[in-house]
């Protein structure tokens, strides 16, 4: 749970519930954007974000996203477990 995984916001599902769909390592899951939806820096479709336990916690650029993904893949078992848990996630 200590990992933060890069994902790309592909759809705002429900702005009131602060839900967006993100593509994360090839799967699409709902994430909460309630920590990044105010002001000028509010997340938009197409943005890369670091996702931690189902919440977008910071905006990053694409190069940083790719670097982070590479580093995560090298972690091995802990990243695989995180992805398995993410696959089972159904945030509504």
């Amino acid at each position: 749970m200590c990992l933060a995984i890069p994902g790309r916001i592909v759809e705002i599902v429900d702005a009131d519930l602060q839900l967006a769909k993100a593509e994360i390592s090839g799967v699409r899951r709902n994430v909460n954007i309630g920590l990044l939806d105010e002001g000028e820096g509010a997340v938009q479709i197409g943005d890369w974000v670091l996702i931690h336990v189902g919440f977008a916690m910071s905006k990053i650029d694409e190069a940083e996203a790719q670097r982070t993904l590479q580093a995560l893949e090298e972690i091995g078992a802990a990243y695989q477990q995180e992805l398995e848990e993410l696959h089972g996630s159904r945030i509504e």
Partner: protein, 384 residues
């Protein structure tokens, strides 16, 4: 699409290491603590230690939320999980953390309804889907994770859910660092500040380390070169007699942190007067409980948790390792009675625990296997 990975460039890494070596004064030792467990992992994974000159020593800090959880809190979670009306939810990392009478995984095997969740919002969904059951989320984590629990509770209150509660073990990073600075056992020269925690709290909270204790701090990213550059920035400060909080990880960490996240935390949580940390003992104002406005969602209130205090097993030296007094391999049971398959202490459970990181990568580093070497990626003519 391929990116030049300047954060893995071996030639650059050697150049940075040489600059670090040039700044080290003869006859002086430099003890630098990396606060965050994620940094500990990178250090072992990439053999950073081998690149550093001998006088520079890295000391592993308390920044792994699973590792600092005392046994009493694990036992109290298990006591709730064993109640027949409860669906107990937690992150996967918690399942194998030993309490005094076993782990959540073992309790689950005996029939308790314990479910791993990816997000506290998954626990909230379970509460919605099972209105006749009590759904409890066992919350752990530093300021990285606490805002997620806060937003989940705000949503639960908005929906009027009455069968959802949180057992909060959220902790804050500043008080244990202060406790370590006050500890006579450990004399540190500088700090590598945590990355993800700082995306939430920003860089300002570390200023007490520079102002009250006169030690430099650099907030660092998670790539090998991030860490080397951060160590170089710290060495420059020490050489020039400066003492500042600097931010090496500007790619992700704003100086002010995430104000939206801090606001949510302030609404949902309040500081506990004190909290027990594994190995560090009781530390004042170092953990978060649910605020009065959210008391209805507090599992400790709902289930009357007694506040157990359970001593670690005698052989276990997690405390000394957490304080940086012992290296993982200096613990009496490291790699013998305590392994990642059969952990005695929490530091061997989490992949970010210093013992597990050293067990998996550090020992093999000596054999030059399994460690990911820094290398130049050949991209669009940028190779070497």
């Amino acid at each position: 699409m391929k990116y030049v990975n300047e954060f893995r460039d071996a030639a650059l890494a050697r150049a940075v290491a040489a600059e670090i070596a040039a700044l080290a004064r003869a006859g002086r030792r430099y003890k630098i603590m990396e606060i965050c467990g994620g940094h500990t992992h990178t250090i072992y994974r990439h053999g950073i230690k081998d690149l550093l000159p001998a006088p520079v020593e890295l000391v592993h800090g308390p920044g792994c939320p699973v590792c600092v959880l005392p046994m009493g809190r694990v036992d109290e979670g298990i006591a709730i999980a064993e109640r027949p009306e409860v669906i107990f939810t937690c992150f996967g990392d918690m399942m194998r953390v030993p309490g005094s009478k076993g782990t959540l995984l073992e309790v689950k095997a005996r029939g308790a309804d314990i479910r791993m969740v990816y997000s506290p919002l998954d626990a909230l969904r379970l509460a919605r889907e099972n209105p006749e059951r009590e759904v409890v989320f066992y919350a752990i984590g530093f300021e990285t994770t606490a805002p997620s629990t806060a937003l989940t509770l705000m949503r639960a209150r908005k929906e009027g859910l009455t069968n959802f509660s949180v057992f909060s073990n959220h902790v804050t990073i500043v008080p244990p660092v202060r406790a370590l600075l006050d500890s006579p056992e450990l004399r540190l020269d500088a700090f590598i500040g945590p990355g993800h925690v700082s995306t939430v709290i920003g860089c300002r909270p570390y200023s007490f380390i520079t102002q009250d204790y006169g030690k430099p701090v650099v907030v660092a990213g998670f790539e090998p070169l991030d860490l080397l550059q951060s160590i170089l920035m710290l060495m420059r400060q020490l050489a020039e007699g400066r003492c500042e909080v600097e931010n090496q990880y500007t790619r992700s960490v704003p100086w002010e942190g995430n104000l939206q996240a801090l606001k949510c935390m302030a609404e949902v949580f309040e500081l506990r007067p004190y909290f027990e940390w594994r190995g560090l003992g009781f530390i004042a104002q170092s953990a978060l409980k649910l605020s009065a406005a959210y008391a209805d969602f507090d599992a400790e209130v709902r289930f009357g948790s007694p506040g157990l205090r359970v001593a670690d097993p005698k052989a276990c030296q997690c405390g000394e390792v957490l304080k940086g007094v012992l290296k993982p391999w200096e613990c009496k049971v490291f790699g013998t009675a305590c392994t990642p398959e059969h952990p005695l202490g929490a530091l061997m459970v989490s992949s970010e625990g210093a013992c597990a990181a050293y067990f998996n990568f550090g020992r093999r580093a000596m054999e030059r296997e399994n460690v990911i070497p820094l290398q130049v990626e050949t991209v669009s003519g940028a190779g070497s």
